[in-house]
Amino acid sequence: MELTGAEIFVRCLRDEGVEYLFGYPGGAVLHIYDALYKQEEVKHILVRHEQGATHAADGYARSTGKPGVVLVTSGPGATNAVTGIATAYMDSVPLVVFTGQVMTHLIGDDAFQEVDAIGITRPCVKHNFMVKDVRDLAMIMRKAFHVATTGRPGPVVVDIPKDITAHKTDYVFPQDPSLRSYRPVTDGDPAVIRKAAELLLTAKRPMIYAGGGVILGNASSELTELVRWLGAPCTNTLMGLGAFAATDPLFVGMLGMHGTYEANMAMHECDVLLAVGARFDDRVTGDLDKFCPNARIIHIDIDPASIQKNVAVEIAVIGDARLVMRELLAALTASGRRLDAPALKAWWHRIDEWRGRHCLEYDRANTEVIKPQFVLETLYRLTKGDAFVTSDVGQHQMWAAQFYKFDRPRRWINSGGLGTMGFGLPAAIGVQLAHPQDTVACVTGEASIQMCIQELSTCKQYDLPIKIINLNNRYMGMVRQWQEFFYQSRYSHSYLEALPDFVKLAESYGHAGLRVDKPHDVEAALKEALGQRDRLVFLDFITDQTENVYPMIAAGAGHHEMHLATDRELA
């Protein structure tokens, strides 16, 4: 039986096992919306802005490992989605984004709501497709899901002209989506893996640096086994938090610009570094000339282009993190040898000295103003470290990364690569839909939250009981911090005047709101919010305006050149 393109679209989503479609209707996708109306298998989540759709799909994808799926209309629908697509691209999140397009015969005529979506998205997608014939639609959709979810994952855009969704053809779900030009490597080279094992066995000061690739590759348990076998310290990147349990004694915290003293110093002094699923980003490495000066480096990554991109490494294993680490552990075990125990003991002694600096100390005893760190520590304690935490971008993001100890992967959802303010709330929508029984906390600030605040309406429509932890310091905190440090406290346009009353704002959307401005009320307010299982609670914490994120490595400095706090500089 012949189906229309719109009907085929919906059938394909169903056959791909798509649960939720995040979208916003418009002229070019009306045939598709009509087909969605006539079925119940694929649930459509109506957002309030297309950026929200992509972030929500992204949160769904990061928290489940399944691809997030988006449908937007042509023109502004597509351009509004671009920020979310670029966010997913930078963090290698599998998304499939369908953009409507004007009728085929109008393309290139500057038709109403026409934009070159393929051209605009090209630099921030893993791949994109334009559908030119309804007979290709099913295969292109199949390929889009295949490309988005395999290898190093990433967003794929499919642009569908409106007439294609009305044309008819037979529907068969294509079985084999393989492309001759796309064959991601999975197994690492056994000879190289043996060399990596040999090098690790010679280490006197080993260090494991694990990134988001471990989470994307579902390789947390392999990483944990490997780290424990080696008895080596492990650090996670911002994207990798939860890949190795934060409460494990072998964990030394996050590394990089706002990483812990012990993690960065261990990077600086290690003699063998094993990097897994991490890409030596500038926020992690600092000054490349001072990066790991004593280390021989092993790099495991599924993307050959990540290898030797920023840092020259001695041994590179291209492959799936899970398979490669499994093989690496097998090679280590088969060697019948262990690491030099006295050397390892001395190494840990050194690390414990660094830990003794207590680099995450802050003024806990303050009873006058709320310290943002205190809110996050309390959130961690009350949720027993088991909540899903989404975040926006800025100081609150760093504090959440430092003070919420993630023991499991896919619990920490933030925009690491692109640093997209406005990400947190819509991402929480996707996470809460995927995990209806779990606590989802959106850690945000009064600047970030306003970039996608309209999604409070979506939360109401779908009864999503997200807990918004707004650390309200009346500043774009991270901008203010840099202006204080590097621009002699000239706070150029970083002070937010005319802030809304967030409590009333939340209430006007039909949610509960609560303002907290005293430290002794923090715990009670969080308990109250977490106890409300069936509604969104917006907690507006009025926090210390001048608190800075420490430790800090200034841009362009080395790992050993950290600042612990204004009054106790180490460097």
Binding site: I118, G119, R122, P123, K126, H127, N128, M130, V147, L179, R180, S181, Y182, D303, P304, A305, I307, Q308, K309
Partner: protein, 177 residues
Amino acid sequence: MRHIISILLENEAGALSRVAGLFSARGYNIASLTVAPTEDPSLSRMTLVTSGSEDVVDQIRKQLNKLVDVVKLVDLTENKRIEREMLLIKVCAEGGERDEIKRLSDIFRGRIIDVTERAYTIELTGDGSKLDAFISVIHPRRILEVVRSGVIGIARGNASCVPDDRSSCLNSNDPAA
């Protein structure tokens, strides 16, 4: 260092812009770029000349290979190769100059392919340095227009840049092939 990279691309709309966009987005150099269809209508051949340190060229190769439309990539610089470029040049040729231009063209194995009372159009093929040499012997004031094709190249010997699954007489046991 200069590298000449041969790429088989899916013959899809937009494939060329993916390559060109990659170079501009990541700040890589393109000295020349030629594209044309191949004997297999689903594939285009692109020959790209770029330059950079070994690290940069290594990244260029990897980033190109990451493009989903790239079916096969070979850096011809790594082995012996043949390079060719075509030059079409229109030069002033009047009076006594006509014989001299004709002689120069013959020396470089060029062909005069169009003639007017005042000008010759000459076709010349060779590697880039040969074309440069020819241009340099013509007085700049005589040069009316220079059109160069950009470099194409092919590996010497039996090595080839073709899709991995393609069979040929070299990898077949069939003696008749």
